[in-house]
């Protein structure tokens, strides 16, 4: 593979029936069937009170999984570059702005406008942790997780610095839900390092692969979980998380992850030292 390996040191997960990384293990392993239970988004404790009041659902989702990943990794978030990736940010905020703008006297809220930028989650996160490290915010529609993962792998290859990858998607209310149906909130975060540490969980290598050369994209087995994989852009991460949850005692696990119609990602998960 062209790109240097990355080492997964922490994971955050929040989605329907996936309440956290540890509490989702049995479901991801296939030991218990997936149950679709709507997510509850926690308030972000790390934000200063003024920003906490302004923090909408996208901030709460992205920060919840980012917090879980850094706590799991045991790292200082100030030391991490960040890659945020989402298909559409906060759908309810977009809907509210469009409703107001269609009214005769369209006076929109400055907070709603500020929160409408695609990099809102990144901005709030860097304020919360006081970090001036580089950050980007990406979108590739249904391939948004893949875009984030390939950008993270490229940054790691070039800079050899630890980073936080956060992929998150939120539903639109009607009428946008009908043209872009996303069933619920789903967020996935990973702390990735350029070299193995005492806390590392697994080695991950990634490379783009033209769809014409790739095996079919890996599925989740469980039909309800697989509906999340195909129904939420961040769900493209689920086969990777399943591979981690099932353990890596044997040979490395190779899988194909969704990215673009013409381009997939080949990922290889390996136990440390293999």
């Amino acid at each position: 593979m062209t790109l240097a390996p990355m080492f997964i040191q922490g994971i955050g997960l929040l989605g329907p029936g996936l309440p956290s990384w540890p509490d989702s293990q049995a479901t991801l392993r296939g030991a218990t069937p997936h149950q679709f239970v709507l997510t509850v988004l926690p308030a972000p404790p790390r934000l200063p009170p003024a920003e906490r009041r302004r923090a909408g659902a996208v901030i709460r989702l992205a920060m919840a999984v980012a917090e879980e990943a850094i706590a799991h990794a045991g790292v200082d978030p100030q030391t991490l570059a960040t890659v945020f990736s989402s298909s559409g940010g906060e759908g309810s905020n977009c809907h509210s702005l469009c409703e107001t703008l269609a009214s005769p006297n369209p006076l929109i809220s400055p907070t709603r406008f500020t929160n409408s930028v695609h990099n809102a989650a990144s901005g709030y996160w860097h304020i919360a942790v006081g970090s001036r490290h580089t950050s980007t915010s990406l979108c590739a529609y249904d391939g948004s997780f893949g875009a984030g993962l390939i950008e993270a792998a490229t940054l790691m290859h070039m800079n050899a610095e630890p980073l936080l990858l956060v992929a998150y998607d939120l539903p639109y209310p009607e009428p946008l839900n009908s043209v872009r149906p996303l069933p619920d909130n789903l967020g996935v975060a990973m702390v990735l390092t350029p070299a193995p540490t005492a806390q590392s969980i697994a080695e991950l290598r990634v490379e783009p692969l033209p769809a014409r050369l790739a095996a079919p994209v890996d599925t989740c087995g469980d039909a309800s979980l697989d509906a999340l994989r195909t129904g939420m852009p961040a769900g493209a991460a689920l086969p990777l998380l399943q591979g981690l949850a099932r353990g890596l005692d044997g040979a490395p696990r190779e899988m194909v992850i969704e990215y673009l119609p013409h381009l997939k990602l080949r990922a290889r998960l390996a136990a440390l030292g293999v």
């Binding site: 990736s85 369209p106 500020t114 304020i127 950050s135 009908s178």
Partner: protein, 392 residues
């Protein structure tokens, strides 16, 4: 970093379509801003609307992408032989080895804003509304990759007003890592109601024409624009070089820059380190220069901290307006025009220079051979990007 060849580039803004019209306007010191309304938005102000966007007709194979943002993208792609240059790169490297990385802040959101005015009796959007190829943030990169028949990695960077500066970094890294051999970068942002009313709600929109570096500056004038550059691993005839890029975050406030420009300083320094240049090697700085009181004050301090106060600099937003997510790319292309023509464009609309600002701010055009320039782009969320570009 290894310098990256820029083998073709183009831009379309309120100054005109393509490089020749842009250069003529810059030489004449003409602004593209006009005091007029966009659609029926009842806001007093100046906007930088691109002529002819409404009249653009997309080819049949691209019809599903039809919206103002992609019409503007198409108008820009048609200039300066850009599509022919990409076709050559595609033939040379293979479609799968050419990436597409574009910046935008609002993409085709106007399409949705207008659709909300025409909801059906049951509340649904009008028939024929298409989300993915218009409203979705990725739509402009999907459109460009489809139009240019490219099959490499692609995504949109959407970090507000630094978006289309940052994409140069994504492309350069993927090329250096060996994933691709060439890339189309740039950005497109078109006028929409969210940004006009949004900046107005934050009291950052000037009712007067924007006046970067003026003592009486009251905020920005919003423009629209599109720019594209072709980066290639090798070239016999580069039109310029990407020498360095620096990226940072303020970690300070969502919509106000760090008062001392701490993040901006880090971005400029990183860009110089990447280019292997010293501050004195930079001949001209294209400032972010939005004409909000806070941006220009913070940027003045930040640039002075890195370069001192003698390097000639200006903001071209008095000419183009602030093209938001397209600004980084638009101003990189203006930087390339500056390098190619030995032209440092004067910053327009200054009536009374702000005595608090110390930089060597050019108010009229200066001509001199230029070897390297730096372009700043900062945005909401505290995002900062600086590019260093070199002459061919």
């Amino acid at each position: 970093m290894q310098p990256v060849a820029i083998t073709q580039h183009t831009l379309t803004t309120a100054l005109g379509a393509g490089r020749a019209e842009t250069l003529a306007a810059l030489r004449a010191g003409r602004t593209g801003l006009a005091s007029k309304q966009f659609l029926d938005a009842g806001l007093q102000g100046w906007i930088g609307e691109v002529d002819g966007v409404d009249a653009v007709v997309l080819p049949a194979r691209l019809q599903e992408f039809d919206c103002r943002n992609n019409r503007l993208a198409w108008l820009a792609l048609e200039q300066d032989g850009f599509m022919a240059a990409v076709a050559n790169a595609r033939a040379r490297w293979g479609a799968e080895r050419v990436g597409v990385f574009l910046g935008t802040s609002t993409s085709g959101l106007l399409q949705t804003e207008l659709a909300y005015r025409h909801r059906q009796p049951d509340g649904s959007l009008p028939e024929g509304f298409r989300y993915a190829p218009t409203q979705n943030t990725y739509s402009v990169a999907s459109f460009a990759a489809t139009a240019l028949e490219l099959a490499g990695p692609s995504f949109v960077v959407s970090t507000a007003c630094s978006s289309s500066a940052k994409v140069f970094g994504n492309a350069a890294r993927m090329m250096a890592a060996g994933l691709i051999d060439a890339a189309v970068v740039g950005g497109v942002d078109s006028l929409c109601l969210t940004t006009l009313y949004g900046f107005n709600s934050l009291e950052l929109l000037s009712s007067d024409i924007c006046r970067p570096w003026d003592a009486g500056r009251r905020g920005l004038s919003i423009g629209e624009g599109a720019s594209f550059a072709l980066l290639e691993r090798e070239s016999d005839a580069p039109q310029g070089w990407l020498l360095g890029i620096g990226e940072s975050n303020d970690g300070h406030h969502m919509s106000t820059p760090h008062p001392e420009g701490a993040g901006a300083i880090a971005a400029m320094q990183a860009a110089l380190v990447g280019a292997g240049l010293r501050p004195g090697d930079i001949d001209y700085i294209n400032l972010h220069g939005t004409a909000t009181p806070s941006n220009d004050a913070a940027e003045d301090r930040a640039v002075a901290a890195v370069f001192g106060t003698s390097t000639p600099c200006s903001s071209t937003k008095g000419a183009t307006g602030h093209t938001l997510g397209a600004a980084g790319g638009v101003e990189a292309m203006i930087g390339l025009l500056a390098l190619q023509n030995g032209l440092m464009p004067g910053g327009l609309n200054v009536q009374t220079p702000d005595p608090e600002l110390r930089l060597n701010y050019l108010r009229v055009n200066h001509e001199a051979p230029l070897r390297a320039i730096l372009s700043n782009s900062f945005g909401f969320g505290g995002t900062n990007a600086s590019l260093v570009l070199g002459a061919a």
